[in-house]
């Protein structure tokens, strides 16, 4: 029987507090395109509206995260240290997206085994030596690699669209259009989505991230004009 001292009370993650919603990403002709909105929800309140949920990692990768924002920031610190030590070797070798993805998988899985997960779903994309890479890792360490990935609601709403409409070697314009289509559906249907998003582009040259912008939405459907016709008193 272990002796419990006051400081040894449970220090494990129980539930998330400030969360981001879906991330969607695709491979395209020159590399990776990733989209995420800038919302940080506090439960059902859409509290923070300028949260950057995608960041560059080293020279070759970009990381997008949904879930607990503070855990995402913690992961960025781990990756910062990883990349720093990688650079300190100063030997021409560098960690590519495949290596970073696997490192993250190990990180997430080991935390899960300690019953203290980092409450995120991550998307890791990158290009190295012409090879495009796109993978995802969940908070329990489940990892995938594919031509298009998404987290959270994105898996249910965006991936079906991508399965139908993604093809090899999309141009930048086609890719952005496809991602915007996915993000628009998410905006309509995901309660935690906010209409302020960024799209990150990752090519051999590096990462660029767009300025935040909004999607046009259309609410002029007939059914919305007189919603209670036929059922007075209802909403």
């Amino acid at each position: 029987m272990t002796i419990m001292s006051p400081e040894a009370s449970s220090q494990r993650t129980l539930y998330p507090y400030v969360t981001g919603t879906s991330v969607v990403a695709i491979k395209y002709k020159d590399g990776i395109l990733m989209a995420a909105d800038m919302g940080g929800s506090y439960g059902s309140t859409l509290r923070y509206k300028s949260v950057e949920r995608m960041k560059a990692v080293g020279k070759h990768s970009v990381l997008g995260a949904s879930g607990e924002i503070s855990d995402f920031q913690e992961i960025l610190r781990y990756l910062d240290e990883l990349i720093l030590h990688d650079n300190m070797w100063d030997d021409g070798n560098s960690l590519g997206p495949k290596e970073v993805h696997n490192y993250l998988t190990r990180l997430m899985y080991n935390r899960r085994n300690k019953f203290n997960p980092l409450w995120n779903s991550l998307v890791l994309g990158g290009v190295k030596n012409g090879q495009k890479y796109l993978g995802s890792v969940s908070m329990i360490g489940v990892h995938f690699e594919d031509n298009h990935v998404a987290t959270g609601f994105g898996n249910h709403l965006a991936r079906p669209i991508l399965r139908d409409e993604w093809k090899e070697d999309l141009t930048f314009e086609e890719g952005v259009k496809l991602l915007e289509k996915c993000m628009r559906v998410l905006l309509y249907r995901d309660r935690s989505a906010v209409n302020k998003l960024q799209i990150a582009k990752l090519t051999e040259e590096g990462m660029t991230i767009s300025q935040p912008y909004s999607l046009k939405t259309f609410w002029g459907y007939g059914a919305f004009q007189n919603p209670t016709v036929g059922a007075e008193g209802s909403w």
């Binding site: 070797w89 030997d91 021409g92 070798n93 290596e99 993805h101 696997n102 490192y103 190990r106």
Partner: protein, 276 residues
């Protein structure tokens, strides 16, 4: 080298700025049996002389695979070499586990060198008494490194260590400029020639040498005896240009070996002598 009052422990400098214990460790490498390595852009070959103490014993392992893309040949205290090989294997597999990617050989070599350096700066340790020829592949191609007991490491096109390695080095120095674009077969041939140089006229057979190769698209492997013997025979290395020191009793005279026999097949007790 002679004994002096500054050579008792590794943490004592001599007035001339030398660490004698480290130099003595390098001496141990020179006493080990020869190991050579050479590389082209896409392949690296390691070869070593492997003589057993007596006919009754097997010979010591001097070439180790650290990973599919890294191998090492040692000269000196083989026990130290084994321990360092284990370290290399451990580092390789841990890196692969975390990153799903092969450990760049340049990094492993630096890690080895730093490990060796520690032993030159602790009063309760001694330097490793083994020299390592590390052959490996990374994104930029094939590499060959030499790790010293001193903690230094160097990259080479070709190198030889151990006893009588100077003879091999002389041979390699003559030919190294062509190695970059050599084919795998020619690299193997040059390796065997270099090994032969260290034998000072003794007949080269696959029973006294070990050869390993690694390259782009080819995982590190130690070639089996049959393959090596076939290579020796094919390149006609065994007896070529040998001085008259071929007189010793052969273990086997393969019928199809075809080395230049100015002397004719040696007489065996149960076989009727042939006409010369």
């Amino acid at each position: 080298m002679f004994r002096n009052q500054y050579d008792t422990d590794v943490t004592t400098w001599s007035p001339a700025g030398r660490l004698f214990q480290v130099e003595y460790a390098m001496e141990a490498v020179k006493q080990g049996s020869a190991a050579i390595g050479l590389r082209s852009k896409s392949h690296v070959v390691l070869a070593c002389v492997n003589k057993s103490n007596s006919e009754l014993s097997s010979h010591q392992k001097k070439i180790f695979k650290a990973d599919d893309h890294i191998g090492v040949a040692i000269a000196g205290l083989t026990a130290d070499g084994r321990v360092l090989s284990r370290y290399m294997r451990s580092e390789c597999i841990n890196y692969s586990y975390s990153y799903e990617s092969p450990l760049p050989v340049g990094r492993l070599v630096v890690q080895l060198a730093d490990k060796a350096q520690v032993c030159t700066q602790r009063s309760w340790k001694r330097p490793y008494g083994v020299g390592l020829l590390v052959a490996g592949l990374d994104e930029s191609g094939a590499h060959l490194y030499y790790n010293c007991p001193s903690g230094n490491y160097f990259e080479y096109q070709a190198f030889a260590i151990g006893s009588r390695s100077q003879a091999a080095k002389t041979y390699l120095e003559r030919k190294f400029e062509s190695f970059s674009t050599s084919s795998r077969e020619n690299l193997l041939k040059d390796a065997l020639f270099a090994i032969r140089e260290t034998l000072q006229g003794e007949r080269l057979t696959s029973s006294i040498c070990t050869v390993a190769v690694l390259g782009v698209g080819e995982a590190f492997q130690i070639l089996d005896q049959k393959t090596v013997q076939a290579l020796i025979d094919a390149f006609e290395i065994a007896g070529e240009e040998a001085p008259a020191a071929e007189g010793d009793a052969p273990d086997q005279s393969a019928a199809g070996s075809g080395p230049t026999t100015d002397q004719g097949p040696p007489a065996e007790p149960d076989v009727a002598p042939m006409e010369t």
